[in-house]
Symmetry: C2
Subunit: 238 residues, 2 copies
């Protein structure tokens, strides 16, 4: 079946992807474009380095999704206004890159291109780190709940928002953390530095430093507004 298609999209956990991709590439016809939706790119690219059909493969990563996985997690507008990353485009033939970019454009996505190494570094900060902090927040509060059954009666929208990603699938995220280990651990270490600085400011009765750190964090508003306006301004072309 894989032989007769124009575009083949692999959307499986990244450990399975690294194993599957070389075999799939060996099976497809010359005209077929192969892409993936994995959240890591270096290990995946390494898995097909030097493959005879490497130029038919276009490493990509649509920056969209929720804490849910599987077909039932789909919803209308899931990709709209989000960014799709194409990695190492010079290693793929232009017609295959164009086909994958056209697919993402139909879904209303913005496109960007970068090296696999750069991609893995950046997603460690803007995606993988958020998952770590959310898993850890959930574990902290669940452990506390053992001593206080009523604690979750008090949970509101703020908790919901920050703990949402803790529902994410371990089968999907284990392999991502595994393949992007160095960058994720580095992001966690940077986060730990900032957390220790914030803790010091909390402990101090001089509230100036605390205020400075919060005002600094407030600058995230421009980023979040930018994300929000992209989502509103990008109708699905179909």
């Amino acid at each position: 079946m894989a032989r007769s298609v124009d575009l083949l999209v692999l959307a499986v956990p990244v450990d399975a992807l690294a194993k599957l991709l070389p075999h799939v590439l060996s099976l497809v016809n010359e005209g077929t474009t192969v892409t993936d939706m994995g959240s890591t790119k270096e290990v995946i690219c390494q898995a097909v380095r030097g493959h005879a059909r490497r130029r038919q493969y276009v490493p990509s990563h649509p920056m969209s999704g929720t804490e849910n996985s599987g077909p039932s997690a789909a919803y209308r507008g899931l990709f709209r206004g989000r960014t799709a990353v194409i990695c190492n485009p010079e290693e793929s033939a232009p017609e295959h890159v164009q086909r994958v970019e056209a697919m993402y454009q139909v879904l209303g996505m913005r496109l960007t291109r970068m090296g696999a190494e750069e991609h893995d570094l950046h997603v460690a900060f803007v995606s993988h780190l958020s998952h770590v902090t959310s898993f850890v927040l959930a574990n902290t509060v669940l452990a506390e709940e053992k001593n206080a059954n009523t604690i979750f009666d008090l949970a509101g929208g703020g908790f919901e928002s920050t703990a949402r990603l803790a529902k994410s699938s371990p089968s999907m995220w284990g392999p991502i953390f595994d393949q992007n280990r160095t960058n994720v651990v580095n992001a966690v270490d940077r986060y730990l530095e900032h957390l220790h600085a914030f803790r010091e400011a909390l402990v101090s009765t001089d509230t100036g430093e605390q205020r400075d750190l919060m005002e600094q964090a407030n600058q995230i508003r421009r980023v979040l507004e930018q994300i929000g306006s992209r989502r509103k301004g990008s109708p699905v072309k179909q």
Copy 2:
């Protein structure tokens, strides 16, 4: 003006509240009920301990709100299905407690009662800690952005969700952290323990521990579903 009202609701930052409340209580008539919406309760209760009109004051905390503050942050359904906490109800006269509870019920809120000390301990975990981790996530990623202008092109819904609270007002949150310092620092320290454990699991190439920690965190799903179903099942009575 304060003299002739039935119910007076103070909704100001908790440092202003601690100063204002004793004066307001001294000004109101005998029949007036006074309540507040502050996110801390012990310091506020201490501010009116022994006040001649203490039984007219009902310490309360509606567990609702967003990262936005001020009148323009209001939206229809803001309180619906969330929990309102009444603290130390035995220190207030029953008719005043009833009046405050009736107000929250009109807004579609669930009611719970607890000691001010217990309240402050629990909100440190389910509310104040989420704000700390969100401020710190924003600071970490903003610092990284200095080295990489394109990093936020990649930010998706997950980042948006976990960093949202970092937009919160320092004028509102500084005094909350200040008044609930001991509990918040304790919550941060518990969080640090769980973060170090997660980091260790990330560093290890034995992925079993990592999976265990993620599966543990996944149990937050039942909590978040409970919160979600309350919101759906609670029409505003008006």
